[in-house]
């Protein structure tokens, strides 16, 4: 605690509550409240129902959840592999500073560019033979991968920079070849960062809307698009229920991912 006096501590907590509650907590609580509402014209909703959830967990909506989960799973796993690979390459080329700078720049691009633009770019680039992904689910997965790999690259890069080179060197001096060192020493030591990166990528992909809007085919509609469509046609409460389902599914997967750290929690 940086604040030592009792008064100061209270002031800090109140300040935090004043900022946090309206900015972050209230909107999410309102969504949850709305998802149970039959009608909301006053300050509080009138009447409660679970009908929206019944709608949100069957048919088209259930399919959308499945689509989102599959897309996020594939995108985050691909992002992890590509991001880790690139981060390892950048670290091993440390002697040539420009390699690292080029890679950093390349991977920050999809973050710096608005995701609508990334969506459009992917659409234009892969709409013609030889790679005509247009109108298939693959183009959605591709765009998500492009968007989230940047985050995987950055978090693995940061973790690599923190990794004491003495481990790698000790392993090498014991006679371990670079592959063996990577599999038995570096990757296990990086595991906490790898799982955290996967979780982050997964969450980002689950919530991605703007690029997806540009690309999704009728048979591959992720949940955020479904939510947007529901609210757009005025079904605010159904949209809220879908949003709560999205939140719950994402949190559940993140929680599961965070449990993978048991073996790696040695520090």
């Amino acid at each position: 605690m940086l604040v030592h006096s009792r008064k100061g501590r209270w002031a800090a907590w109140i300040c935090f509550a004043v900022l946090f509650v309206p900015l972050f907590a209230v909107p999410l609580l309102v969504i949850v409240a709305a998802s149970f509402a039959t009608n909301w014209s006053g300050v509080l909703p009138s009447g409660s129902t679970v009908e929206h959830y019944a709608a949100a967990t069957r048919g088209e909506s259930l399919a959308a959840l499945g689509v989102s989960l599959q897309t996020a799973l594939l995108a985050s796993v691909l992002a992890l592999v590509i991001g880790t690979w690139a981060a390892l390459s950048a670290a091993s080329a440390a002697r040539h500073g420009w390699v690292r700078r080029v890679l950093d720049a390349l991977f920050v691009l999809p973050v710096a560019v608005p995701s609508v633009v990334v969506g459009l770019a992917v659409l234009v680039a892969y709409s013609r033979p030889p790679v005509a992904f247009n109108g298939t689910r693959w183009i959605v997965m591709l765009a998500h991968t492009v968007l989230v790999t940047a985050f995987a690259y950055q978090s693995v890069s940061a973790a690599l920079a923190r990794l004491d080179p003495a481990y790698e060197q000790a392993a090498a001096s014991l006679g371990a070849r670079p592959w063996y060192v990577l599999l038995r020493v570096k990757l296990p030591l990086l595991l906490p960062s790898l799982t955290a990166a996967t979780g982050l990528c997964f969450a980002l992909s689950m919530g991605e809307l703007s690029a997806t809007m540009m690309l999704y085919p009728p048979d591959w509609m992720p949940l955020p698009v479904q939510i947007f469509a529901a609210t757009d046609r005025g079904s605010l409460f159904t949209g809220s229920a879908l949003a709560v389902v999205l939140m719950a599914a994402t949190s559940l997967v993140l929680f599961a991912v965070s449990r993978v750290r048991t073996r790696a929690s040695y520090r």
Partner: protein
Amino acid sequence: MSEARRSGIRFEEVTVAYDGTVVLDGFDLTVEPGEVMALLGPSGSGKTTALRAVAGFVRPAAGRVLIGDRDVTGLPPHARDVGMVVQSYALFPHMRVADNVAFGLKARRTPRGEIAARVAEALEMVGMADYARRHPRELSGGQQQRVAIARALAVRPGVLLLDEPLSALDARLRSGMLAELDRLHRELPDVSVLYVTHDQVEALTLADRVAVMDRARLREVGTPEQLYRAPRRTFTADFVGAANLLPVVGAPGGTVRFGDARLKVASPAPSAGAEATLCVRPHRITLGEEAANVLRGTVTAVQWRGATHRVAVEVAGREVVAELPETAEPPAVGAEVPLSFAVRDGVLVDD
């Protein structure tokens, strides 16, 4: 795997530079098979760079490194067959002690049946057999140190590289580990050891020979006794133990002159009129006129240091320090006293 490979280390004119800064300059040194060689020097002297050149973590800009008869200059670290222990130990935190020790054996595809026996043997050697199932984080610094040594020895390297292995330990543990390392080397007489340290006590205690380094260069190599009793350079005299370094002038009759005093020294005297530096160890100087060379001066400071009194005496405008056995009546500050030392205790050093 061959059992008793006796391989020494040879540096031939090894030069290492980082970004244009030379950190090791024309380094020439031979470590005989089975010898313990200490690289002693202040930080930035290039001693760790020399060790890393053997391990393969720095690539020399010029020169060759040989292990046994093998030129390893261009070989990657994993092909060099060395054991290494670093200051931070670098035990793999995600593996148990036994797996840490087995790491090198598994990496080298040692047959499974043999690994367990070798791990047990290595842990036994450092007295850590009871800790095989622990994780490194559950061990004290001294225990981690032992495991790191066991891990390096398990692969039976011809060459053992120790990079400041004791500097993370407290003083008492350190002297215990020194004795332990000494015992280990007696048990493994064929292993050549390169021991990097900035601590002269470690170097003098453990090493068969000591290489003194300063500012990227090798200054002097010799047995601990040689370096301590008869250093040839000012830097060595000063860095290895305390020293009085006095400017003297060559005088007729094979003597040197310091102020008014005529002194006889063990080294060949310089020609008359030539300048030189005389090195005398403080604890070799006694109060009184018993020994051959006598200096007279005024006491400027007296420090009680438990077993000794450290007495500073101003002689001919220079401070001469004498480390005297503790007495009930040390000389008083301001008193005129004679100091003396034997001929064999005075040596001339070069800059």
